[in-house]
């Protein structure tokens, strides 16, 4: 058959003569098909193509014809292995030319569409190859949501320590040049930002930095106020303007800031310029550390050149019992509160009773364990990551349980077992990439400068997120969380069950499974829209938003209905009841329907929230602010009132 006058345009970029044996080769290489069957299929394909009398064909089209024959022969598994990932030309054009309507926060440009296109292919890959068909179907149907599928080959988010850079410099694998440990604060800032950008390339989520002002402090001895202000400006502006980087996105960065020296760092020898120990402990730099924290907030308070707030890097202010006995805390808290009042961006993280956390992406945090306090003596070891986040669609479970308590918990347990399995598969996939060490795609994370890889899988967590607890309870009991004590109690029972279940599964799998409040974003919309379609009779009165226009959502995680006007006091108290159960971090947003709330009243509220509630973290949104990180839709709802 070599005399067939047919030419094939192949993917690698050439035009070659038709050669049937290429089909056989590909089938044998990519699938587990029997050689005889491969031979048979290749002949059938040839016949179809020859009969069509075309003179020119592309390799992808041949592949589709082969796939069609595989289906005819009932070889579904082989077809999946042989399939091609890609997008219809129409979709590519839409993506390249028009702005993404669903996510207005993503900038539109060639860089960002590169990212979107690549992500859509990796997402298809993940669902076909990383996860089982059962898990993939659960995601597609909307029983649960696997986050960041388009970045399947990266862990989710990370908590990092400046000490690593201070000790080892910027010593990245594959880097053209290697920088020694910094000697000047400006250089430390530069290295921190470059390292963050590099980390953004291997993590899909936020890049958090622990105790930033404290770890800068040994570099700040003898620096005057003006220089201090300039350094603070440099740090914030350089981070904020990284939107010119990968995919046109900002680095989702977090600066954890402390007024007092956290207990676990007090007697730790300080690393100074040039990577050398200064001979002092961190406690001795409290003065510099505080001056830098204040300088940072003065910059946050002023905002950018147009007086607009900085969304990144997010300032996370930690408050502990010791905060209230440390000198000057009132003035500092007032400065932070003023920033809340004017700009709305500070996050107040409450570390009660000796707990310590490193916060990322506005609500996720890593709670330090015993071994971590040991690591704190050499803080460069303190590197944390959450590998994956999977969210469970809670309202759907209520629809399926039809008011039956036992059924509801049974279904929830089932979903959680599915999530655990999804986590194991993700861990195995990421581990296989890490296993390639320096020559693999995650070489940066395999970098080993202190006796273990930068990415410490042994300390990694896996997140169980939840969406729409409020709507679950609403359907199950007929009352929303804020509407009755019974509803609130039932909500707590559900989350307590999830916590226990996650821990038990963690034991079984030998992995760290913790609950997290899922960032709402598009998941809240996707799952509500799917339920409206497939559970119409039940979801109709429950989904929030406008069911007629299809602009619907579920309430974020364990939040109370965001559209209901409620005293911020009752909101922090009630939402706070859930926070101790959610180890990987929770947040309450305080919407203030007043412009420029009095900063002293804000500090007053912060202090009372710390002392009188169990709430883990709060942030304020005065009337005018628009927050990019959570529930854009719900926010508009609130504003309309």
């Amino acid at each position: 058959m070599t005399d067939i006058a047919l030419f094939v345009k192949v993917s690698r970029g050439d035009i070659v003569k038709w050669d049937r044996s290429k089909i056989v080769e590909a089938l044998l290489r990519e699938t587990k098909i029997a050689p005889k069957m491969a031979e048979l299929i290749s002949r059938e394909v040839e016949r179809t193509i020859v009969n069509s009398k075309i003179k020119f064909i592309t390799a992808p089209l041949i592949r589709e014809v082969v796939n069609e024959k595989l289906i005819e022969h009932g070889l579904e598994e082989e077809r999946k292995q042989h399939t091609r990932l890609g997008l219809p030309i129409y979709d590519v054009e839409q993506m390249m030319v028009y702005k993404n309507k669903e996510n207005a926060n993503v900038p539109h440009g060639p860089e960002s569409t590169n990212l979107v296109l690549a992500e859509s292919i990796k997402k298809q890959y993940a669902l076909l190859r990383v996860f089982t068909p059962g898990i993939a179907a659960a995601h597609e149907k909307g029983d649960l949501h696997l986050h960041n599928l388009g970045m399947i080959d990266r862990p989710y988010c990370s908590g990092n320590s400046l000490e690593y850079i201070k000790r080892f410099g910027l010593n990245l694998p594959n880097a053209i040049s290697i920088a020694k440990p910094p000697k000047h604060p400006e250089v430390l800032i530069g290295q921190m930002i470059k390292f963050s950008a590099a980390l953004q390339g291997v993590f899909s989520g936020a890049i958090g930095w622990d105790a930033v002002n404290l770890f800068f402090s040994p570099f700040l001895a003898g620096i005057d106020d003006k220089q201090m202000e300039q350094l603070a400006q440099m740090l914030i502006f350089e981070f904020a303007q990284q939107a010119v980087a990968r995919g046109g996105q900002s680095i989702f960065s977090d600066l954890n800031l402390y007024w007092e020296v956290p207990k676990h760092f007090r007697d730790v020898p300080a690393v100074g310029p040039g990577g050398a120990f200064t001979g002092n402990d961190y406690e001795d730099y409290v003065e510099e550390s505080r001056r830098f924290a204040s300088a940072l907030f003065r910059v946050y308070l002023q905002g950018d050149a147009f007086g607009r707030p900085f969304f990144f890097p997010k300032p996370q202010v930690h408050i502990t019992e010791d905060f209230f006995s440390s000198e000057g805390y009132e003035d500092f808290l007032r400065l932070v509160a003023e920033t809340s009042s004017e700009m709305g961006n500070p996050y107040y993280v409450f570390d009660r009773k000796g707990t310590a956390k490193i916060s990322e992406c506005c609500r996720l945090s890593f709670k330090l364990e015993k071994s971590d306090f040991e690591d704190a003596k050499s803080p460069w070891k303190m590197r944390y990551s959450a590998v994956q986040n999977v969210t469970i669609n809670l309202p759907r479970i209520a629809y399926e349980a039809s008011g039956d308590d036992a059924k509801l918990f049974e279904l929830l347990g089932e979903r959680m077992r599915l999530v655990a399995e999804a986590h194991r598969l993700k861990r195995d996939f990421v581990s296989s990439l890490l296993g390639l060490r320096g020559s693999g795609p995650l070489g940066l994370l395999a970098m080993d400068l202190d006796g273990e890889p930068y990415f410490r899988m042994r300390r990694a967590t896996f997140l169980f997120g939840m969406l729409g607890l409020n709507e679950m309870v609403q359907y199950h009991l007929g009352k929303e969380l804020h509407e009755s004590d019974e509803a609130l109690k039932f909500g707590l029972k559900v989350i307590a069950f999830m916590k226990k279940e996650a821990e038990a599964l963690g034991e079984v799998y030998g992995m760290r499974f913790v609950l997290e409040q899922t960032p709402a974003e598009s998941t809240a919309y996707r799952l509500a829209a799917l339920d409206l379609k497939h559970y119409n009779g039940k979801a109709n009165g429950v989904v929030k938003g406008n069911a007629r226009s299809g602009d619907v959502y579920y309430t974020n995680s364990t939040y109370l209905n965001v559209g209901v006007r409620m005293s911020p006091i009752e909101r922090v108290k009630k939402e706070g009841l859930f926070h101790p159960l959610i180890e990987a971090g929770s947040l309450s947003h305080i919407w203030i329907g007043e412009a420029r709330p009095n900063p002293d009243s804000i500090s007053n509220f912060v202090v009372k929230t710390f002392k009188n509630t169990m709430n883990d973290q709060i942030a304020f949104s005065p009337e005018f602010t628009c927050c990019l990180d959570c529930g854009r839709r719900s926010q508009m709802e609130v504003k309309k009132q």
Binding site: S567, P568, I569, E570, I592, E594, A595, R596, P597, N598, D600, S601, I602, N604, F605, K608, N612, E623, F624
Partner: protein, 235 residues
């Protein structure tokens, strides 16, 4: 007491405090720049707030709420004000009274009986009968007389207080602000407030613009020539 509005949690009504604010729907003045006139003209459009709604909220949230701000309208025109304040105080909360100062008798009584912990009193114009009449939409000379009595009382009484003026572009000149400041010498705090044109009672005022932040800074510095503490507020 008849209440027509309840902001359960306010961060703006009492500096440094978290308060619940209630509104009285009646007033004896007709200030052209008043932005609560809907409440005064059409109280029936707003649902009544039972006192129990307020006290229940306070009882539930005493660990956060510092006090209650009684605003309006003009609270001293309401029947039952004194008893309401007594109830709040007996629950262990502080009371702030917003008043236009036209009822010094009631003011003196509430303060001397320890039923009010903070008074925010409007000073609408310099102590000139014509100007005061213009700024309050009234002709009675008694208005200014009463206001003067309240001003003196607050300065001398020792009760914590602030005086405040909503500065309206067509009504108040720099000189007016300076005159008011002179009149208020010895007061604890003087606050200038931005005008809110879109909500002004007198339609003719709605075409004016609100002041910029820097304009407010400047006016505050004018007042500061005669007073210890001066601030400005407004979005």
């Amino acid at each position: 007491m008849r209440l027509k509005g309840f902001v359960d949690t306010s961060f703006v009504d009492w500096d440094g405090k978290i308060v619940s604010t209630v509104f009285v729907p009646t007033c004896n003045l007709r200030c052209p720049f008043c932005f609560n006139h809907q409440l005064i003209l059409h109280p029936e459009k707003y649902p009544d707030v039972p006192e129990s709604a307020v006290t229940d909220f306070l009882k539930r949230n005493g660990d956060f709420v510092d006090g209650v701000c009684v605003s309006g309208g003009e609270p001293t025109t309401a029947r039952g004000l004194k008893r309401f304040c007594q109830d709040i105080v007996s629950l262990g909360f502080k009371v702030k009274l917003d008043t236009n100062g036209t009822n010094p008798g009631a003011l003196i009584e509430l303060v001397s009986e320890g039923l009010v912990n903070y008074v925010a009193m409007d000073v609408k114009a310099p102590p000139d009968e014509k100007k005061y009449g213009l700024a309050t939409g009234t002709r009675s000379p008694k208005v200014l007389e009463s206001v003067k009595e309240s001003v003196s009382f607050l300065i001398e009484s020792g009760v914590d207080h602030e005086f405040r003026t909503t500065v309206v572009p067509s009504i108040h000149s720099d000189d007016d602000v300076e005159e008011i400041a002179k009149w208020l010498r010895g007061s604890r705090l003087y606050v200038l407030q931005k005008f809110q044109p879109e909500r002004a009672w007198d339609r003719r005022l709605r075409k004016f613009h609100s002041q910029s932040d820097s304009e407010m800074e400047r006016l505050a510095s004018v007042a500061s020539r005669h007073l210890g503490r001066v601030k400005w507020r407004g979005r």
